[in-house]
Symmetry: none
Subunit: 190 residues, 4 copies
DNA sequence: TATGAATGAGTCTTCATTCAT
DNA sequence: GATGAATGAAGACTCATTCAT
């Protein structure tokens, strides 16, 4: 039951965060939206900025879970990349701008390591895919999986954010295609 | 002469911005550092947040100028990419974190178009390089220059920021190399 | 209990307002005098200028209540006018200058209608007296009660304010007498 | 020539004062409107608040001059009152709200005596009219001319301001008529 | 006289956080 | 656990006034 309150708060925060920026939402807004009292917030979060990592973690977790699921039966790395891009676009759409807000929010608060800790499992997930791809001979040996995973994640994230911020859905397919091409050229054997 | 004051303010702001985040610096700090009065700030900037675009513009301008100069005698796109990466790392080092702070600052203030206006010239510069590379048969026809330029810029920026935030100079050469490989694979003919 | 805080603030504000002008008192002064925190002020008032109407309303309410009471057993309009003048002088003395400050405060903030809404009940009260006087044949039919009430209120208010601002109590009886004569000549049958 | 600058400033201030309140106009607004430099203001006025009395004096002077002129050939006090009311309405219309702003401006600045000094000549002018009316047997002996003059001025001023602030020109004739009746009943023999 | 860039004290308002109930 | 009234530090911004030119 007490978990309910926390969940309500996180949901409310996610919603507001996606609409406005981190600096533009007040604890007051969140609790109002969540339908709980001001003080309740501090029962579950040490401070306002402690909220961001939790949301980020939830987001990444969600993304990871969806992708794990969708990739379970997929074999070719090329297909995996397609799916990763597609799901990223979908998740990013519903959280419009939230990821980069999380990022800047964390960066601002000098909690870089916190951020990395949260991103860790996702990065590992991508690394494993690339590693497997290398083993299969599909992914180039030229690039270190750690760096490549990082660049791949950044590029996908940045592109999805950018595209969605533009609010012009018509260019989505083209940008997605470009991203696909770019990534595959960089990572896969010709 | 009155330009001096504005310059002083921008310099001070750049310095402080690189050290702390945008939300962590006060107008008061900036003017103190700049050696001008509180009111003087508002003589040259409509508000605190109006400062960011100006700094960003200056930064981009600087980057653009340096790269234009260094690339003037270079022919091969591959070499151009090397130089762009190198100079980006250098500029980014001296402005440690400033670019992404500018970005988040702008994103927070919903001034996306302002941000794009500022980035415009740099993006065009990169596009022209890629276009020329296509003409020379060095750059792949597979990718649209506009998208490619955007992705290239994002990737370089994100990587430089990330590497510099880690404050571990030893990994710079490796990351730089990885970035080079990644980009060239994506953009150039094999 | 929470009403207490608001009451404290209004009391403090009334006191300070009577001593200084609206533009000369700071929110800080008010809360210090009231013994509450800075933020508490904004819990009960949207802004500093939102305070004035509330005080004005309270003042008018007080004046109205006193006069209603004192006039309950009085029959002749002439006597009623005497009592209205007397009580106005008394109330005005204890709020020295406050009424006109309220007025200017409102006028400055372009909230004329707000001001009229507040004055409404008092004006109605005076109108009813004049109407009753007309029915009794004591008040002249020459003048419309609405206009007459307005003029009567203005004249009394202006005179009391003026007299009290002079801080020379010796002239009060004379001015009061003059006001009485003036008003009765204007309103009553000879 | 230097008088020109001062005149420009006063004109600009009158205009702005009539549109906004005293507290809402800045020296900057005035000088911009006047087309002079910021510093020029302080060449002619000790401070911002020193401007109000000058404007008030000019206004009163204007009113006085007009009325003196119009009354020069008039004999009956009743007619004089009509003319005074009419001209007051006219002048007040073009300075919509300015008089009361002057008043509150001065009251706020505790310069009551200054205000009275400025009003002095006008009050004397009205007193003389009433005195003459008494001599002619037209004005009642019941009321002291000093008090009566003051009340008459206040009432006219308050009424004109009120009517003009309402911006409903259709009620002007009725209110004017009511004022006329009220004043004549109060001051003249039946 | 005239200018207008520069000043900086002054104040409103916000909002994360606390704590008595 | 839950509440929400109360807190008060913090900071952006204003604007009358000055003064070097």
């Amino acid at each position: 039951m007490s978990q309910t309150k926390k969940t309500q708060i996180i949901s409310a925060a996610k919603q507001l965060l996606a609409e406005h920026g981190i600096e533009n939402i007040k604890v007051n807004d969140i609790v109002k939206q969540a339908g709980v009292a001001q003080g309740t917030f501090y029962l579950y979060f040490r401070s306002k900025s402690a909220l961001i990592p939790e949301i980020a973690a939830e987001l990444i977790g969600e993304l990871l879970q969806i992708q794990r699921e969708k990739l379970s039966q997929v074999v070719r790395t090329s297909d995996k990349i397609d799916i990763i891009i597609d799901t990223s676009f979908e998740v990013s759409r519903s959280y419009r701008g939230l990821l980069s807000l999380c990022y800047s929010g964390l960066a601002i608060n000098d909690e870089l390591s916190e951020w990395e800790r949260i991103y860790e499992p996702y990065k590992t997930f991508i690394e494993e895919i690339l590693e497997a791809g290398k083993a299969e001979g599909e992914v180039t040996q030229q690039i270190a999986t750690s760096s490549a995973a990082q660049m791949m994640i950044s590029l996908i994230e940045e592109t999805t954010e950018r595209v969605h911020l533009h609010e012009d859905e018509t260019e989505v397919p083209h940008e997605k295609e470009q991203l696909r091409t770019f990534l595959k050229r960089a990572l896969l054997h010709v």
